[in-house]
Symmetry: C2
Subunit: 224 residues, 2 copies
């Protein structure tokens, strides 16, 4: 009966865990454990039995909290978008409708990626073949994108941005610059501090590039 | 003795394979099989026993061709850089030292990624935790980067690019724009044709952005 006994001990650890910390806290702990594994082994390497092992739970008990691995990825995707949306909205509020927001947004995106490489990969790359975020999670991301379109439209209407493109296209181009600098920084020098290195040092230059193209009031040659 | 018999049959399939196709052809076939798996399951999901299974070989036989999984990744990384370098050099030759090369290079980078999503991820992202390319492979990539720096330096010296940055920084910024547009296209709409979709349609706009910022001879508002 060794098997039965071990199961009983683990079950009691599970219930102890639940009694002690409550449903939501255990759910949060599972998500934190998943993130630690994703940071160590890659976002695609998530494995429910490894999560259970690290938490001293049985693998089937995880299904009390998540309907499987893709549901866990989905919860992390949504958590990432909520965290990123909160800081982006705060930043937009701080900078208002000025082009200064561009440089701040690029730096903040890079900082978010450096601080949350696992969530960043899940949100902005496609590291898990077959994982499709749920409609609720996509709505979370889409809402923030709509806000970007609206803010960019405001800058275009006010004449602060003259890109010759509509608000959507101008926004996508801005995203491309922001994402490209960050993605190459992550791939080439993940541990370099922002402000240093091949790509981490170019946040102000990327913002200047956009201002020179869209405002035309600073040609490259002028500024250092 | 069923086990012994199965082994004997597989060994004979291995030698048949070798006799039939030769060492290099078998090595190429292993790399093709690896690429197929990477495209299906993600770049990080490569698994030697799955390669062996698909090829009707024994897993240990793979070690005749590659010193392990990371050596296989390294060979694919190098193959990717060779293929990409060949087309980039041809493109640079075709366009010479004109800014028209920028748009052609962005489109070609996106096309390379669409055609070789597995190699692209291995070369330009960091999908395999712990995999570090060999010095020989890194030299292959570094040589192409040096060529980009030299060509960009030529454009700056000729006054065709006025970025206010040195040749290295200007090149990194160009890479960021090119990579960002492609990375977001890959993540959001991998199957969209180039020229269509949120990001795939913006190759000319990205090139115009760079020309407007660096040549100052077209402000955004002018062109459609």
């Amino acid at each position: 009966m060794t098997f039965g006994k071990a199961t009983a001990i683990r079950q009691s650890a599970d219930s102890r865990h639940r009694r002690h910390f409550g449903f939501n806290a255990t759910r949060d702990a599972i998500m934190s454990t998943a993130r630690a594994i994703m940071r160590e082994d890659g976002v695609g390497a998530l494995n429910l039995s490894e999560i259970a092992r690290r938490m001293g739970m049985k693998t089937p008990s995880l299904y009390t909290y998540f309907d499987g691995k893709h549901a866990l990825y989905d919860a992390l995707f949504r958590e990432g978008w909520r965290a990123y949306a909160a800081r982006t909205r705060a930043l937009a509020e701080r900078h208002g409708a000025t082009l200064g927001v561009l440089e701040a947004a690029i730096e903040d995106y890079m900082r978010f990626a450096d601080e949350n490489p696992d969530l960043y990969a899940l949100m902005f790359e496609r590291p898990v073949p077959g994982f499709v975020p749920s409609p609720e999670s996509i709505a979370e991301a889409a809402a923030l994108l709509e806000e970007l379109y609206a803010r960019m439209g405001g800058l275009i209407d006010a004449g602060a941005v003259r890109s010759g493109l509509d608000a959507h296209e101008t926004s996508e181009l801005f995203l491309a610059v922001m994402h490209g600098l960050t993605a190459l920084k992550r791939a080439n020098e993940p541990n370099a501090a922002i402000g240093t290195g091949r790509f981490g040092s170019l946040v102000p230059a990327a913002a200047r590039l956009l201002r020179a193209a869209w405002q035309g009031d600073e040609t490259g040659g002028g500024r250092p």
